[in-house]
Symmetry: C2
Subunit: 208 residues, 2 copies
């Protein structure tokens, strides 16, 4: 069952995919887990185990067919099966994400944004709706992914609204912990946590 793929494995799969997709056109038709591991500075057994959970194109002595492996990873990661999403919060980050074309490649299509406004507004070809219309639009479009880019102080309320509107997975860019009912996934993109690592590294370095 694919449900017992660990979070760690799931997060590494896109790395493998982007690496093998970036391989030059004249590269060999097959690639080994060892080569991928070396390029990404990972353990080769780990790569093999990760790939085993989504692929059956590995052959002893031969490795994996690059073409097949790309297809298997893309299919597993849902890159061919586009999910619609909406963004709540059309500040600079929200607008940047709305405007970013690259998500399509990952099977994510951001339909629209919501923010405080009295009328729907256009931004780079996408619509920013008044926040009041959140539930109506989500229900009508059957939206299952919500992206939160509002300030921390409003994030929980927005999150509750999203859940009430039928959203099942939330990508949270606000620096707060969100409480959700069981069965709803919150994926945090916490910049403060990343900065903590950067800042700690610099401090440690100075000590030496």
């Amino acid at each position: 069952m694919s449900s017992n793929i660990s979070k760690q494995t799931l997060q590494r799969l896109p790395l493998y995919l982007s690496y093998i997709k970036a391989l030059p056109a004249d590269a060999p038709k097959n690639i080994s887990a060892t080569m991928i591991a070396e390029a990404l500075q990972l353990n080769d057994v780990q790569v093999r185990k990760d790939l085993a959970s989504v692929s059956s194109s590995g052959k002893p002595k031969v490795g994996y067919s690059v073409k097949d492996l790309i297809a298997e990873l893309e299919s597993f990661l849902g890159y061919d099966n586009v999910d619609d999403a909406i963004i709540v919060g059309a500040g600079s980050l929200g607008k940047a994400l709305l405007n970013y074309g690259g998500f399509k490649e990952y099977g994510l299509n951001i339909l629209a944004a919501f923010d405080l406004c009295s009328e729907p507004e256009e931004f780079q070809g996408k619509t920013v709706f008044p926040i009041e219309q959140l539930e109506t639009v989500c229900r009508r479009m059957n939206i299952r992914i919500g992206i939160i880019t509002v300030p921390a102080s409003n994030a929980q309320e927005i999150c509750d609204n999203l859940v009430k509107s039928g959203v099942r997975a939330i990508w949270n860019f606000a620096p707060v912990h969100l409480v959700v009912p069981e069965g709803i996934l919150v994926q945090n993109e916490n910049m403060a946590s990343s900065l903590a690592l950067l800042s700690n590294h610099l401090r440690e370095e100075l000590k030496r």
Copy 2:
């Protein structure tokens, strides 16, 4: 020694800080690890252990002084000690980060951006320099943090330039694995990995 604080702990510290900073003004002067753990849905021993690595204000039966704990966390996370950074890549994401005021609160000051252009350009009060001036500016300003928001295909080259320019920590938003010399930290903000979790959650849900 603070160097043996784990990555996991380091990433949780900002969560504790933002939670206790958001406490209402009329809240009790002290807070227990158990309360923090409940609010953030974590294990209380974990919170206590994490806090023990940066704080000495915990008292049995009393808990932690909110005021002292905020001061200790802010100091440890370097929020009072601003680091200067530059961004390479002034596309929509790069501009959003350049424009985002919130990093100052975390001790990060983004001075300028670099991109392909023949002349320095102004954007929202900050300067976008021609990429050719990267090394000169980094050296002159003694920049130690570089933020990469260029397309995947250019990221390694930019990374090499940053390292050559004296940068010691890199915040990488490009979906590629970067290879760096020992001692340089790369912190990846990999959107594709996050999306893999969201997409997997939705798929699993459908199966049920």
